[in-house]
Structures are given as C-alpha cells and as structure tokens.
C-alpha cells in the first residue's frame, strides 16, 4: 500500500475508516431504537420527534459542528462534565470527529431501518404471537432478522456518507493531521498549501474509489440479504 500511497495519505485513509466505522457502529443501536419508536409506536409529538431526528440531514454541517462545540466543548455543559468526571474529551480528538459523523449520518440509518420495519408484514407478528412468542422473543427472532437488510444497507450508506463529512468535523475538532484530518479535510489542507493541487487530486480520486466501493457493496448486500 505504501508504494501507491504516501504515508500521509495512508494515515488520512485509515483515520477516515476508523472514524466512520466507530461512528456508525456506536450510532446503530440508537438508530434502531429511534426507528422502532417512530415506526411501531404512537405518541404525541411524533412528527416533531421525526423532524428533530432528520434535522442533521438538512442543517448546514457547520451549524451542527458549532452546536457540538457549544454543548461538548471544553466549557460546554456536557463537555466540561465529561472531562471533570470521566476524563473524556471530544474536542480536538478523533472521537469528536466520530461523534460529529455519527450525528450527521444518523438520519440515514434511521430512515433505512424505519423503512424496513414499516415494510414488514404485521400479520407475521400476529402469527408469531399465536404460536406463543412474547414481545422480546418477537423482537429478536422476527423484527430484527426481517429488518436486517435495512439495517445493513443503512449502515453501509451511512458509512459511505460519513467518509465525506467535512463541515461538522472541521468546525468541532479542527484539522489536525493524524488525529482529526480525514480524507476530505486532507484535500482541503492540500488545496490551501501552495502547489498542493496534485496531492488534492490524488486524495480526491481515492475518495471517489472508496465511495464507489461502499455504495456498491451496500447495494449488493441489500439485494443478497433480502430473501
């Protein structure tokens, strides 16, 4: 790999993969719970809740990054509490980049899982009940496996989208090589430096290949898993 990519490029690539992987994996259980609540339950303020969940999709990522800074920053209410009590710090750290990516791509995961849950035949749950399956039993043996294609394709789409996250990351955790400088941030940095166009073009090509790979894998996975 080092023969094709420079050390800096490899670092940015691996960091991007790590940040996106952690972001999607950590957000997945919450996305499933949210999708389940939005699709199966009736409660007041559901439209508002759905709107809030989808907010990161339509808000400028810079605004999301700014809000994260306000809440999770060193002097923010949550940020200072986490630092004082648990020693966890998000600002200027790759975990902060993962948090930002998770939040931005959260609606993508929720949407895919929600569609899968709503597409499931409610008659199957009825059949399972008459055969003696309780609530948890149905969740584990019916709802989850039936929603699996949606979960997988949602996670892969969100992962691919997360690789391209720029605004929220650079606002929240800045552009630190080896710590928070993912591929898009590395492209930006290369463009800022004099004579960095070739480097930017190489990183851009790498991003395109990566995105293409994951979107295709997502498509195939969704089709294979369905039945």
């Amino acid at each position: 790999m080092s023969e094709i990519l420079t050390l800096a490029e490899t670092t940015a690539l691996l960091l991007s993969l790590r940040i996106s992987g952690v972001a999607i994996a950590c957000a997945l259980p919450f996305a499933f719970m949210t999708a389940w609540l939005l699709s199966q339950r009736r409660f007041t303020g559901k439209s508002l809740a759905s709107g809030i969940v989808h907010l990161p999709l339509v808000l400028p990522p810079v605004a999301v990054g700014y809000l994260l800074l306000v809440v999770f920053g060193a002097r923010g209410p949550v940020g200072s509490w986490l630092w004082d009590n648990l020693g966890i710090r998000f600002v200027f750290s790759w975990t902060g980049a993962a948090l930002a990516s998770a939040l931005i791509t959260f609606p993508l995961q929720v949407r895919a899982i929600r569609l899968a849950l709503e597409g499931a035949d409610p008659g199957l749950a009825e059949a399972a009940r008459t055969l003696g399956a309780g609530r948890l039993d149905r969740l584990l043996n019916l709802t989850l496996p039936l929603a699996l294609p949606g979960i997988v394709s949602g996670a892969i789409t969100a992962f691919a989208a997360s690789l391209g996250e720029f605004g929220a990351i650079i606002t929240f955790v800045s552009n630190i090589p080896g710590e928070t400088q993912t591929l898009p941030l590395a492209i930006y940095a290369a463009l800022q430096a004099p004579g960095g166009e070739t480097e930017a073009a190489r990183l851009c090509l790498l991003s395109i290949l990566l995105a293409l790979l994951f979107v295709t894998v997502g498509e195939i996975a969704a089709r294979r898993l369905w039945r």
């Binding site: 009825e126 059949a127 009940r129 055969l131 496996p145 039945r227």
Partner: protein
C-alpha cells in the same frame, strides 16, 4: 371441549354481534364473505379486542370486557391463517418448529405433565409424514406453491400443541386435489391428539 363466544365489535359501519357456545370437537362457521368470520377467529385468538364480550375455552376465561384480556401468546390457540403467514427468513423446518419449541419450553418451565406429554407426542416427523412435507424442509417459504404453504402453516399450528386450532378459510387456499386428503388428516389428527378445531368457510365443496 367447550367454547363460549359472545362479542360485540364495531368495524367502521359494520357491527359484529355474535354469540354461540359449542361442545363439539369440530365447529364450523359458515357465512358469505364479509359476514365477520375472520373477525370472530381473530377475537378468539386474541388478535383483536372486542368492544364488549366474553370468550372462554374449557372454562378458562380468555376475554371478559372490560377487565380481562389474555394476550394471544398466552392463549395456546393456534391459527392457520388464510394467507399462511409463514416466516420468510426461516426454512420450512424452522417455521414448523417455531411454535413447537416455545410450547416445549413452556411445558418444561411449568412442568405440566399433560402438556409435556402432548408436546413430546407431537413429534415433527409425525406431522411431516402426515402432511407430506419431507421434501420441503430445507426450502424457504417463497419457493413454495400456495398449497404447500397452507400445509406448512397447518403443520406449524399443529406442532404448537394448541388447546384449540383455528382454521381461517382452510379450504380456500388448498388445491382441490388435496382437499379431501387434508380433511382426513385433520380428522385423523384430532382422533389421536384430541386437539379441537374451529374453522370458518365460505363454501364447503365436499
């Protein structure tokens, strides 16, 4: 066995008002489509909650508005649905074993000797042979014909060792050639296992 049903239920403009008590082994509900047969089946199984009424099976009260409602998973009433409702992500074998596993676990937990013996007797090989499902066990439901689906659904319900078996339009989806045979099978099964059943049908060609 005895089954008592009294219910009033409103579905849009349609008001279902039914009352009957039965002591036979087989009870059949006849009526034109839209008469509410499936609604009665759903109410007995606990899949719908009547506005008003009482449902009891062998003296065990399952529904008594407004205070008592046993959820379907605790009723031990299996339903063979019109549209089979097989689980698409499971093989035929795992579909057949779905209710059987849970009935066996429940019997073990409660140490109910009669139910345990019943579950034991309901061996899968017996049902597989009876309904001719041997060649289908490894297949997924979407690879089955309509008639095959119905037979798997019937087998799945029988293997749950229910106290009552409800068949919703059991003849509608079975291919004509199999009709005679499956009627005989249900009879045979009832004789051996004393599993009463109720069915709804719009027409009975035999």
């Amino acid at each position: 066995m005895s089954l008592e049903v009294r219910l009033k239920h409103r579905l849009g403009d349609f008001v279902l008002d039914a009352e009957f008590a039965t002591h036979g082994h087989v009870t059949a509900l006849f009526g034109p489509s839209g008469a509410g047969k499936s609604s009665i089946v759903a109410a007995i199984a606990g899949l719908s909650r009547p506005r008003q009424g009482r449902i009891a099976l062998d003296g065990r009260v399952l529904t008594e508005t407004p205070r008592l409602f046993v959820p379907p998973e605790q009723r031990r009433i299996a339903v063979v649905f019109q549209d089979a409702r097989l689980f698409p992500h499971m093989s035929v074998q795992n579909n057949l074993l779905f209710g059987w596993r849970r009935a066996a676990a429940r019997a073990r937990a409660a140490a109910r000797a009669r139910a345990a013996a019943k579950a034991e007797a309901a061996t899968i090989s017996h049902v597989v042979e009876l309904l001719g499902l041997g060649a289908l066990l490894g297949r997924r439901p979407h690879k089955l014909s309509g008639g095959e689906k119905s037979r798997v659904a019937l087998g799945r319900a029988l293997l749950a060792s229910p106290d009552l078996l409800l068949l919703d339009e059991p003849l509608a989806s079975l291919d004509a050639a199999r009709r005679g045979r499956s009627c005989l099978i249900s009879k045979d099964w009832r004789g051996r296992r004393s599993c009463p059943c109720s069915m709804s049908a719009t027409r009975w060609t035999r």
